[in-house]
């Protein structure tokens, strides 16, 4: 609650961002993975990634393990539980047979995933037969129903928390499309009925049940036999279910590590359209560079967390300074002091409001009118009724007239001119690709724009018109462009290789994995594509057109500048001089102090040591380097 005095001076970008990185647990997810461990899961196989056949059980376990690894980075506050059914051993709070809840120490059954869970789950297959064991849970002659039990255990695990704050899901992984095939008659009908009822009860509690079925190459998993009723599939959904389920499993394994952020209003702002008419807008951060997670400093001896305590000390007296400090700016031979309040006051211009100034054609918004990520604005009728209507009307009018609105945004830390660019909703593949609303683009002031073009021109010694490409050059360039064409390019098609590497390394170190994973860098150019004959030809033609036939890379060596020639000469001179002294001898006999600073620097320069400091410092540096 206390105002940090530093805050006042902080760049607003910083505090805006730090706000985003705070995770809210309002929209977390509780997931129970129900993995079928019946013998059939171990016998049935399908071709794996490297061509060899893998058991369904193996695929299920690795998929879940992979999902956990992404979960822990993407949504670290999600809680998961892993549960096998059709097992020999049993472990669950209701003591139901055939169900085994897998867990590790220091963890509740349904809890945030931990490194230990991921690690131990990764090798569950090795000890599975010994510790958990596989057996059919539904056999004729017995009234045991392992599927029923599994659902019941899962439901009990998900009792935690309210459905309002968390989404609850059961993911069922199995290859048995007819779990009750071994029994018949009334017993079967009864079992089906109670199991379906169990599932319905769970669904009524707000728990969604999803099925991830495995098919054998020779035998398709038939959802219609039993599971369609369990998860409530009908009509067309039923037909499309199998292909989409296969995709889901793939997604689970190959999901990108990407931290998820809950949709959250950054600020509520008042948009003053004209005197006496203001509407209410909410701002959202749709695009913000993701930084690797925050650093927590630890004590390297105990690995316990540390907290930084900052104190201000007067350099003159050594006294501890308290409270908000004054600031000063040296000006005209004196220090002009400012209080914090004064500095705040300077920046205060129509605080928090967005004031419409007028409209301009979109062509007035140049490519270099940009400073930082844009902010998305969307109207809200919650506080001010009528906001949305006015916003929609303006939005439509701006798109129709191809204009953007210029407004002044009185952010308390950094008030700026902004361009409001209307964006129409774009739907592709059934998903919202671009939401409807306006993007607020922060514009530079004249102080922020540098006239590089002019500066460059004025550096030229002789005035002459700059070289312009001829029609032929342009045509060749255009032909090249058609060859190296990224069709359907979408802005966010690359993942950040540095960030992916960071996550991968973090995972490897956390899980004590032996080898460092290699991350594929998607941002490298497609060299294979570039060397295709047609492309290579287009490039060659453009090159010849501009650079001429005889242009050779060899005579293209970077020309040495005057400065670098001088530098080289100086280095050679130093090397020469350096040889003239017997440094070891001088050091041993303590005669270094008889040399001049210039002479001492021959040694330092030749050994590439720092040259700064007084003579004593230089001598001691030389001695240290010689190991004396």
């Amino acid at each position: 609650m206390d105002l940090d005095p530093e805050d006042v001076f902080k760049d607003d970008e910083d505090d805006e961002d730090s706000e985003f990185f705070q995770l809210r647990d309002s929209t977390k997810e509780f997931v129970v993975y129900l993995i079928d461990a019946s013998p059939k899961m171990f016998t049935a196989t399908c071709p794996g990634a490297d061509g060899e056949n893998e058991t369904h059980f193996h695929i299920a376990v690795t998929s879940v393990a992979q999902a956990l690894k992404t979960h822990i980075i993407n949504n670290t506050y999600n809680e998961v539980a892993i549960c096998f059914f059709n097992t020999k051993e049993k472990r669950n709070s209701q003591d139901l047979s055939g169900v085994f809840v897998f867990d590790v120490a220091e963890r509740e059954h349904l809890d945030r995933p931990t490194a230990r869970l991921i690690k131990e789950f990764g090798c569950v297959e090795e000890s599975f037969a010994k510790e958990i064991g596989s057996q059919y849970g539904i056999v004729s002659g017995s009234w045991e129903n392992s599927l029923y039990n599994a659902l019941w255990v899962a439901q009990a695990l998900l009792r935690k928390g309210s459905t309002k704050t968390a989404e609850k899901r059961i993911l069922l992984l199995t290859n048995e499309d007819d779990p009750f095939r071994n029994i018949s008659g009334i017993a079967k009908a009864d079992m089906i009925r109670t199991t379906l009822q169990r599932a319905k009860d769970a669904q009524d509690l707000g728990i969604s049940i999803e099925l991830l079925p495995f098919s054998r190459p020779d035998e398709e998993f038939k959802v219609s036999i039993f599971y369609a009723d369990l998860i409530g599939l009908e009509g067309d959904d039923l037909i499309e279910y199998m292909p989409s389920a296969g995709q889901k499993l793939e997604d689970m394994k190959n999901q990108l590590r990407k931290r998820m952020f809950a949709k959250r209003i950054v600020k509520r702002i008042k948009f003053v359209i004209t005197n006496g008419l203001s509407i209410d807008l909410h701002t959202y951060a749709l695009i913000r560079p993701t930084a690797p997670g925050a650093i927590t400093w630890l004590d390297s001896v105990t690995n316990r967390p540390l907290k930084a305590e900052r104190s201000f000390i007067c350099a003159d007296t050594g006294a501890l300074m308290q409270g908000p400090l004054k600031r000063y700016q040296p000006y005209k031979n004196e220090d002009v002091k400012f209080s914090e309040e004064e500095l705040r006051e300077i920046k205060r211009v129509s605080t928090g409001h967005l004031r419409l100034l007028g409209f301009k054609p979109l062509s007035c918004l140049k490519d270099y009118h940009n400073l930082k990520p844009s902010t998305f604005v969307f109207p809200s009728d919650k506080e001010v009724i009528g906001s949305t209507c006015a916003f929609v009307a303006l939005h439509r009018a701006m798109i129709r007239n191809q204009r953007f609105a210029l407004a002044f945004y009185g952010l308390s830390t950094n008030p700026r001119l902004v361009a409001l660019v209307a964006q129409e909703e774009i739907i592709s593949d059934g998903g919202q690709f671009e939401p409807p609303g306006m993007h607020m683009i922060f514009l530079p002031y004249s102080d922020d724009i540098r006239d590089i073009e002019q500066a460059r021109t004025s550096q030229l010694t002789t005035k002459r018109p700059a070289h312009r490409a001829t029609e032929d050059h342009i045509q060749k360039a255009a032909a090249l462009m058609k060859r190296i064409y990224l069709k359907d390019f979408s802005v966010c098609q690359f993942s950040n290789p540095a960030l992916q590497r960071h996550y991968a390394v973090l995972q490897a170190l956390a899980l004590d994995e032996d080898e460092m994973p290699e991350i594929h860098d998607e941002t490298l150019p497609d060299e294979e594509g570039m060397s295709r004959p047609a492309v290579a030809k287009a490039i060659q033609e453009f090159r010849t057109s501009v650079y001429g036939e005889d242009y050779d890379e060899a005579d293209d060596k970077p020309r040495e500048s005057e400065a670098s020639k001088k530098r080289k000469a100086a280095a050679e001179c130093v090397a020469q001089e350096y040889k003239n002294y017997d440094w070891e001898e001088l050091a041993d006999s303590g005669k270094l102090k008889d040399l001049t600073v210039v002479e001492l620097k021959y040694y330092l320069a030749a050994q590439k040591l720092p040259l700064a400091g007084k003579k004593e410092v230089l001598i001691s540096r030389i001695l240290t380097h010689l190991g004396k």
């Binding site: 609650m1 931290r259 695009i287 913000r288 630890l298 907290k307 930084a308 104190s311 000390i313 003159d316 004054k326 000063y328 002091k337 300077i346 920046k347 409001h353 419409l356 100034l357 007028g358 007035c364 990520p373 506080e383 001010v384 009528g386 006015a390 303006l394 009018a397 609105a405 008030p415 001119l417 409807p436 993007h439 004249s446 102080d447 922020d448 006239d451 073009e453 460059r456 018109p465 070289h467 050059h473 342009i474 190296i484 390019f489 979408s490 802005v491 966010c492 993942s495 290789p497 540095a498 960030l499 390394v505 860098d521 150019p525 570039m530 290579a536 060659q540 501009v546 001429g548 242009y551």
Partner: protein
């Protein structure tokens, strides 16, 4: 540092037709000097005025002529006196000849010549170019301009002209204007010169870079089209935010007698164990920890360095894409510019060919950039063509960084078409909006683009430097209001508003906007008060013209103390007046709570609470209340518990986050 030094001559037209904009010229020059006093204290500046009644320059004395040109100040290192000099420029009485004045300026720079000086030499002319130049004794005016330009070029003087047009040139002789434009443009062919035209006083204040930053490349190397073809380019920053100055912390602990006190403040960090605050760990014993689920994984920097992502330096082309596929709002950072390496004409040609082809075909280039060796990340960005309109300037590219998948958050928003009918504008409303968008026009023609970023100065920085100057004269000066001319940046232009009154009124009457009555009382009150624009200073500025504000504040009866007859009103008057930022402090000093038995104290407290929520200053109230309670603890126990009960019954609890969300 010598290279970064600058000798500059400001050549200012102070003739009668310029009088209207001289206040802005003064402000611009003041700002220039103020910034030089901070960032370039060794720079030398001279001032030449023309159009003055008198004549005072060396050339007149030496060769005669050059009338009505006055050297306000010879070349000299900037100092505080100069600020006074330019804040009140003399108003001239005659129509001056700018060529004469330029010659005087060039002469000053030439006479000041020193072999050792390696910095920049610059002449800046501000005029409305309405007065014809005299016919020279021999040759044509063009010849004369060529001669001056040649002279400038030889001496390495760059020349900048700001021509003030717009309202000022109404009624001016068209032929003269054209002739002068032609002559001034001649300069840019013969010498390194730049001419800008500004249409209004606000852009005049943004037309001159008041702080010089030498361009520095962030990358010199090759733009790899493929392994077989590389274009040598240099990359500079095109935009970079000029930040609010970071001020040093000041310590007043040193005794006033200590003449050598540095007044510096050292910031000291201590690392304590979270569990045991007494245990302090030396900085080198720390290790960075990263969250992995609920755990924190310690990773030393050596470990990181071994496995970190280390891309090779270079800029590689990934391909060309349709310009429409890269939406404007995806640009995430400040902008860079790619120019061909100076010298080799073939690289310039290659850049020019690509830029022009991109422009023609409406394509952009996607590139992957690693600017420095050892950089630990890559940037993927888009090159867009920048076709030069000036013959002397080569074509180039602008570079904007694009986000990665990880940086884009896919939040879903409802479609406008799914909104209920009451949220959809009807035809009349849509028409009103269309008209507003068309008529409230800031760029009626390509020449007349109001508030173009290139010519719009940062009003906050202007305010800071002005305040700095004021404070250097008078230590307890109050923060000055925003500059009148720069108000055009923060508020709509009253002229534009007046011109479009009909459109604006129509828009206002078409849309009914009201505060949601179902909202919680407290929030609603804040909204209403904001709407009324009564109490809040900024709102006053926004919703009422400044005159109205002045009238209202003078209407307020001056209340400084809480009287007996009407204590609560008095109290509220004090809150709402709020003329100085420390109003809360004053209120605290009046300490109504000292008479706790009196129920007025509670009423006042209620008013204070209300006021604090309105003013979004909950901290003051909360601190005050805590202080109150703390003091009471020490006092009579019975009174305290009664006071406490009364507080609770009136709902005078601490202000919660929901009531004042912005400040807690």
């Amino acid at each position: 540092m010598a290279r970064n030094k600058e000798k500059m001559v400001m050549v200012l037209d102070v003739g009668p037709s310029m009088h209207a904009v001289l206040p802005e010229v003064e402000k611009l020059c003041t700002m220039l000097i103020e910034k030089k006093l901070i960032y370039h204290r060794a720079d030398e500046v001279g001032f030449v005025l023309f159009g003055t009644e008198e004549t005072d320059n060396e050339l007149t004395n030496e060769v005669g002529g050059y009338e009505h040109v006055t050297v306000l100040r010879n070349m000299k290192v900037v100092d505080g006196d100069l600020v006074d000099g330019v804040q009140q420029l003399p108003r001239g009485t005659v129509r001056g000849d700018y060529l004469d004045a330029i010659v005087v300026g060039v002469d000053m720079l030439i006479k000041d010549y020193k072999v050792s000086f390696k910095g920049r030499k610059r002449i800046c002319l501000i005029t409305n170019a309405q007065c014809p130049v005299k016919d020279p004794d021999e040759g044509t005016k063009e010849d004369q301009v060529s001669m001056i330009a040649k002279q400038m070029d030889e001496k390495g003087i760059s020349f900048e002209t700001i021509v003030v047009r717009g309202l000022l040139s109404v009624g001016a002789d068209k032929r003269t204007l054209e002739e002068n434009d032609h002559l001034l443009n001649l300069f840019s062919i013969k010498a390194s010169a730049k001419i800008v035209q500004v249409q209004n006083p606000c852009s005049l204040m943004g037309a001159l870079r008041t702080r010089h930053i030498s361009p520095v490349t962030i990358f010199r190397g090759e733009l790899e089209i493929s392994l077989k073809m590389k274009i040598k380019v240099w990359v500079y920053k095109k935009t970079a935010e000029e930040k609010f100055p970071t001020l040093k912390k000041y310590s007043d602990k040193a005794p006033p007698t200590d003449k050598f006190a540095t007044h510096d403040v050292k910031v000291d960090y201590e690392y304590q164990s979270v569990e045991d605050p007494d245990k302090v760990v030396p900085p080198e014993q720390r290790i960075k920890g990263y969250r992995y689920g609920p755990q924190v994984v310690p990773i030393s920097s050596a470990e990181w360095d071994a496995v970190k992502f280390k891309p090779e330096k270079g800029v590689k082309l990934l391909g060309f894409a349709d310009a429409s596929n890269v939406r404007r709002h995806y640009y995430v950072k400040d902008v860079n510019i790619f120019i061909a390496e100076p010298g080799d004409t073939r690289d310039t040609l290659a850049v020019s060919a690509l830029a022009r082809a991109m422009k023609e075909m409406n394509k952009v280039a996607i590139v992957r950039c690693v600017w420095r060796q050892g950089q630990q990340n890559v940037a993927v960005g888009v090159l867009t063509p920048n076709i030069s309109e000036n013959d002397n300037t080569a074509d180039s590219f602008y570079f904007n960084t694009l986000p990665f998948i990880e940086d884009v958050r896919e939040f879903q928003f409802p479609s406008f078409s799914n909104f209920p009918a009451s949220w959809q504008p009807n035809d009349k409303q849509q028409e009103a909006a269309d008209e507003l968008v068309k008529m409230l026009d800031l760029a009626p023609s390509s020449k007349d683009d109001v508030l173009l970023p290139e010519f719009t100065p940062n009003p906050i920085l202007e305010r800071f430097y002005r305040f700095l100057e004021l404070k250097s004269r008078e230590a307890d000066a109050a923060v000055p209001p925003l500059d009148g001319t720069l108000r055009r940046i923060t508020e709509p232009d009253p002229e534009l508003v007046a011109k479009n009154k009909y459109v604006l009124d129509k828009f206002r009457s078409s849309f009914e906007v009201k505060v949601n009555p179902k909202l919680k009382k407290s929030t609603q009150r804040v909204m209403e008060d904001n709407k009324a624009g009564g109490s809040d200073e900024e709102d006053g500025l926004l919703d009422a013209p400044p005159e109205a504000l002045a009238v209202r504040s003078s209407d307020d009866t001056h209340v400084d103390e809480i009287g007996d007859s009407n204590p609560v009103q008095d109290f509220e008057a004090m809150i709402s007046r709020r003329d100085s930022p420390d109003w809360i402090g004053k209120l605290l000093l009046s300490r109504p709570y000292q008479e706790i038995n009196n129920s007025t104290a509670l009423d006042c407290l209620e008013a204070l609470r209300k006021g604090c929520i309105m003013e979004q200053e909950p901290k003051q109230y909360n601190d005050f209340l805590r202080e109150c309670i703390d003091e009471n603890k020490l006092g009579d126990h019975n009174i305290f518990s009664r006071f406490y009960r009364d507080l609770a019954s009136k709902g005078l609890t601490l202000i919660s986050k929901t009531e004042a969300p912005d400040r807690l």
